[in-house]
Amino acid sequence: MSNQVTLLSAVLLFPGGLFALLFGLALKGADRRVAARLQGRVGPPLMQPLFDLVKLGFKRTMVPSTTASETVFLGAPLVGVVSMLIAAALVPISGVYSPDPMLGNLLVLLYLLMVPGIVLMVAGSASGSPYGAIGFSREMALMLAYEGPLVLVVAAVALRTGWSEGHVISFSLTEIVRHQQVHGAFLFDPVMWPAVAAFVFFYPANLGIVPFDIPEAETEVLEGPLLEYSGPALGLFKIMSALKAVVVLGLGIALFMPLAPSGVLGLAVWLVEMLVLMLVGVTVVRVSVGRMRIDQAFAFFLKWPLLFAAASLAVVVVV
């Protein structure tokens, strides 16, 4: 019984649920504010994404007459939010929180990370809008491109941890974090550098940040899959993307850089790490480059990140 309560609180309060949502919104707000500063503007208040959410709660939800199925149209964002809530509870915070093995492991997290993309595809095609359809096809192409490198990166990390710990492969995030706390972070391990590089290319694509925001490009396909959503349904997508930011950045920290003291200090260090990763890896890239075409992005992912990821796997296997 108490185990179930712990699981539920991990999903709904900390580190998933409320905590991840507020932190994700704050990260997005910081991103927007720093982007504005980099462009020489003042920018919105820090909690602007939260204001947006509240605003969306007051708006009316419109279901387009062209929709394929109203249930799918309105249910898709819910699926995305739930998957991200569970995913957020799966991400370990070193020294503070390690996920219950009952909830899942790295493989479950990988599958959950695919859900938002799939939800966007379903939403885009359920809306019946031609822009949604274009967004759908672009999202699918991009997902095909970036999921491969991610799987290889995760396999490299799991293999490296597993071999050092004495068995073949380890998909337990707790064990990966514990291993790095003992033996030093993978970020400082030259063997893992190609994997780090591949992950750096992966996460802007997964988060839909500018060089790879092709499916939701508002100037080309009018936000693609999100075009027909309004009011609370759109708010759910915003919640999903805020949670996803926390999950993906948290996964990066857990895989490569989980070095922190325990307790409140550890949490503070983790929060600062996330913020720095967001600002350096997302904001600066976002304001300094333009959007790629889908074919360019596809070719890019099949060239460099896949090469890096494959190299990291090969190096791990050989060394």
Partner: protein
Amino acid sequence: MNIISDLKKVATKSPWLYRINGGSCNGCDVELATTACIPRYDVERLGCQYCGSPRHADIVLITGPLTAHVKDAVLRLWEEIPEPKVTVAVGVCPISGGIFRESYAVCAPIDQYLPVDVNIPGCPPRPQAIIEGIAKAIEIWREKL
């Protein structure tokens, strides 16, 4: 009751803007782009953000004298925007027809077709005037919410 009015106050900090070009000469559109994109006038301080989809819009900015060619498209697009919304006419063209007034090709004053809330005259209005108009629109939006 109190919480709801507090939440409404928070909600008015995030008005999303949507532009409709009703056959404008693009002078007003350039000024609208300037209002958002040039650091000097940064409209994002008010929480405003241009959105690509009419479904996400709160404040609709209409430019142009509503030429006979785009009239139906503009009216249809305006219908697609969920309530509550505030309509703002930017430039003299949508307000009265301006220099194109009484032409056979324009259906000029748009207030015969849509309930306009705020007018921002000018040919084109300067960015500060647009920001002032948007601030007025936010006040009206708060009452509508």
